[in-house]
Symmetry: C2
Subunit: 209 residues, 2 copies
Amino acid sequence: MAINLSASSYLVLGLIGLRGPSSSYQLKRAVERSIGYFWPFPHSQLYVEPKRLAEAGLLAESTENEGRRRRTYSLTPQGREALRAWLGDPDTEVFQVRNEAELKLFFSELGDEGTVERLADAQVRYHQGRLEEFQKMLERLVDVPVLEKRVAPLVLGVRIEEACLSFWRDVRETGVRGALGRTGFLGGDAEFLAGNTEFLGGNEGRHPG
Amino acid sequence: MAINLSASSYLVLGLIGLRGPSSSYQLKRAVERSIGYFWPFPHSQLYVEPKRLAEAGLLAESTENEGRRRRTYSLTPQGREALRAWLGDPDTEVFQVRNEAELKLFFSELGDEGTVERLADAQVRYHQGRLEEFQKMLERLVDVPVLEKRVAPLVLGVRIEEACLSFWRDVRETGVRGALGRTGFLGGDAEFLAGNTEFLGGNEGRHPG
DNA sequence: CAGTGATAGTCCAGAATGGATGGTACAGTT
DNA sequence: AACTGTACCATCCATTCTGGACTATCACTG
């Protein structure tokens, strides 16, 4: 009965809470146009997860008995309670940034000449595009007071995109070292490594064997 | 033979490229202390993935024939080439931010009184902690020129953490509306919604059925 | 030599991922 | 009325990923 509730679970519960009774397809659409910009949930998940939640008693399922026979899910009292409990807990899972560009930059010394430059260039364009997109959405939504909370991810999104954009601009113009400088690190005394080489893929302090 | 290479694959190839021949355990350690702060790769993956890559000919495997019988992996020419090709391509997968706090904020109107306040408070503390941690690491590493590239994720990390921290501070002090204002959106003409309600969990334009 | 903690690796159930596939409903033609 | 394009709606599947539980080795200490 007591199943594990993941982020997908709460996404489904929460969206149904906001939207009222919804089909998986509607959830899929809602996700595509909101949280999916930052945290992509594949649509197949939005078909599987409500089923799980219904089995666990957190959602009620009703099927049209004509036409398309759509499945609609709505919150049960237990579902609403689970949602409430989750929202009441201010602790959160670790904040994750999955950024392939970061990986490429990290490993860039293993690539050809110009790897960093081309990467930075592409990233500037990429984040510029996202930033504009988010800003346009925000402009359209900013004046509807009732939507205040729901616009929040976009606001954070804009700020994060601004941070990325400025980072990659710095990298493009002055390399990682330049970006470092503009982050407020200009180099103090050249204290050497202090046993933290592992961060960089170097050798451990202790010898293996 | 031609297997799909995921982010995990390139992580493994890249780390072995930087470190030289490595065991899964060493990779695990390296990840924990670097990229794992932003993008957690569970250690079991770092045992499975090298095996796959070895089968595909991108890594060579050698096992100690005494004592612990550690498995060490090293890049084959094909592995190095795959890495080079990946680094040479400036395109990247979508930039993802998986942030449970954002979900909670999005759904906060379904929670009890004070949900946003408690959440913002906890988030400020959380991001403050991370920021300090990253800054300390940077301070220790900033003066080792050879590590320039490898320190890059930390630099981006600091900037993103700064963005999050300022966002959550604004939310704590003045609510989402305040954060909005400080993001440069102060409200123009109250153009109403323009059919974009779906972003917010509202109804679609077209009617179901 | 028992105890402790770092090192090293395996295994597994369950969840997530990302397509591929295959329908239905309807609007606008022609 | 047939045709066509496009949303709409849903299921399935092969891989991967995830998070732990579990086992065992080794180095050091008292």
